[in-house]
């Protein structure tokens, strides 16, 4: 089996090396990366991996952030040019962690009638910045938010069977196409997610959010829009608003809102992971429950709206038909 990871990056030099190293060590055979106007050393890191032969680099200098178009192109290239069996569409701040076995073991046993497997975000919070890399500082996980405007909201990403016709909608939360049926209630992969890692990275990431507005879908994702708006009004205080200091940590641990999770740190330091305990399973189940709840609240109405639009288009064509036959 060949597993290809796609990656869209922009100024992710603080994390992209660890992200590539982690996944290449854990079953990803090849990476296709789209570098969108990076200027912080990210491009050089990607070029080095390209020279080493396990990454194909695509540079995009368009001011617009055309995420769906770029990820779809990479996912199709994975099928047509790189012989992929499965494709994992990731962001640089995501580390795909199989709960049991390896990524490839999970994909091997995925029932053939299904083509899309979900991973669930597990969000890690910003700790006060010091000189240590993010994975040594950020060992505190928080419960997901229901509010989609939070950068820590409950969310999924998907792995999918390789297909030359796949369409990956914005956000990489789905993969659409023939043979890509979603297995809805199985979440065998956790995605350890580090969206806010330092004040500088926070300002850089959300300061570039305008690139979404110029893109083909001009709406900003809600969580991006919410943080970008705060950036305008409370730039100086924004970092401290996200950082969890020692006092907040103590309170959060007691309240059960925060938990110590050193898995990525330990893995990057070469330590072997232990299987999850029953308490971890129950905690994970609660987060899946929240996701499935919001999934229904948000995704079902969205799908219904899309169906309505397609029906309306058909109905318009039907109404127009007499004019065609009469001409």
């Amino acid at each position: 089996m060949k597993l290809v990871m796609t990656l869209v990056v922009r100024d992710e030099a603080d994390i992209v090396e660890q992200q590539l190293h982690y996944h290449l060590e854990r079953g990803v055979d090849f990476v296709i990366a789209t570098d969108h106007r990076s200027g912080d050393g990210t491009t050089e890191i990607l070029r080095r991996h390209e020279r080493e032969g396990h990454l194909r680099l695509i540079r995009e200098n368009d001011a617009r952030f055309r995420q769906s178009e770029w990820v779809t192109r990479m996912a199709r290239l994975a099928a047509t040019d790189h012989g992929a069996d499965w494709v994992l569409n990731s962001d640089a701040d995501e580390f795909w962690w199989p709960r049991e076995g390896t990524l490839k073991e999970i994909l091997t046993v995925t029932p053939p009638r299904f083509g899309v497997v979900r991973g669930l975000w597990r969000n890690f919070v910003l700790r006060p910045d010091d000189e240590r890399p993010f994975y040594e500082r950020m060992t505190i996980r928080r419960a997901p938010d229901v509010d989609p405007a939070s950068p820590y909201h409950a969310q999924v990403k998907v792995l999918h069977r390789a297909s030359p016709e796949v369409v990956v909608p914005r956000g990489n939360h789905d993969a659409l196409g023939r043979g890509l049926a979603l297995i809805r209630e199985w979440f065998p992969v956790e995605i350890l997610h580090f969206p806010i890692r330092s004040g500088a990275q926070l300002r850089r990431k959300f300061g570039a959010a305008e690139a979404y507005r110029a893109g083909p879908d001009s709406r900003l994702p809600r969580h991006t829009a919410a943080v970008a708006a705060r950036l305008d009004t409370e730039e100086e205080d924004l970092e401290s608003g996200f950082a969890v200091d020692d006092e907040a940590l103590e309170h959060g641990l007691v309240a059960g809102e925060l938990s110590l999770d050193t898995r990525l740190r330990d893995a990057l330091q070469g330590q072997k992971a232990l299987p999850p305990a029953l308490a971890d399973d129950a905690c994970y189940a609660a987060e899946i429950d929240l996701l499935l709840g919001t999934d229904s609240a948000r995704r079902l109405p969205g799908r219904v709206r899309l169906l309505e639009r397609r029906l309306e288009a058909l109905e318009r064509r039907r109404r127009a038909r007499p004019r065609l036959t009469g001409s």
């Binding site: 809805r184 209630e185 065998p188 899946i288 169906l307 397609r310």
Partner: protein, 235 residues
């Protein structure tokens, strides 16, 4: 923590006895027909049903359920017996695959509630299997079994038989976490037979989207688009 167990009032004595022995060994405290008001969880098992926890005893698993939830879902899986000689629990070592012919539609989950508790179970989590022996169905011949195994309609599953043998010889029962492959099998059962509410709505939407895509790509629709383009060019 105490788990009260209500055993069925009907069925062969040897089967009820096997259920009692199994559930006591699996972590239930009480195996009485009456309700125990002191219990944290009250489990009611049907004729031929065995609650199989994942990753620990029933006490471990139910003890891990977070406080806001008032129940947990067990995924029902059916065991069928061969017509060989011997007690039913020794012969019932074949599990019906979710797509096996003859299985009806409808939810295949069993709600295990906290005693006197209110509140729902977490969606999408099945830390317990309810293994149900087909007590009233005719046993299968070896030819039928071979055919069904080859077609994928049956899967060999000796867990219950092995556990009952272990319990009979006084060995402690162990309930390991499902392997990746077993986990995928459970996911398939859930996907094919699982939750009736939200999942069914999603699946109806899947079907509607598929039907709509067929209409959109149908021959008359494509012909109409081509004709329209032709008329437009001639104008």
């Amino acid at each position: 923590m105490r788990i009260a167990l209500r055993l069925p009032t009907s069925g062969p004595d040897e089967l009820i006895d096997a259920q009692r022995r199994f559930h006591l060994a699996a972590g239930a405290d009480i195996a009485e027909a009456g309700f125990d008001g002191e219990a944290d969880w009250t489990l009611e098992v049907e004729e031929g049903e065995f609650l199989w926890p994942h990753g620990g005893s029933l006490k471990n698993v139910l003890g891990s359920i977070e406080a806001p939830y008032g129940a947990v879902c067990a995924l029902v899986r059916h065991l069928v017996a061969s017509e060989a000689d011997g007690p039913l629990v020794e012969r019932a070592i074949y599990r019906l695959a979710p797509q096996a012919p003859g299985r009806g539609s409808g939810p295949e989950r069993k709600l295990l509630p906290r005693a006197g508790g209110h509140g729902r179970a977490p969606r999408g989590w099945y830390p317990v299997e309810a293994l149900r022996l087909a007590t009233r169905a005719s046993p299968l011949s070896s030819g039928q079994i071979d055919r069904a195994l080859a077609e994928g309609a049956l899967v060999l599953d000796t867990r219950l038989r092995d556990a009952l043998r272990a319990a009979a010889s006084g060995e402690p029962l162990t309930f390991p976490r499902p392997s990746v492959a077993e986990d995928a099998g459970l996911a398939l059962d859930v996907a094919v037979r699982g939750e009736a509410d939200v999942l069914a709505a999603h699946e109806r939407l899947d079907e509607l989207e598929g039907r709509l895509a067929m209409v959109e790509s149908s021959l008359p629709a494509r012909l109409e688009r081509r004709l329209r383009a032709l008329v437009h060019r001639r104008r």
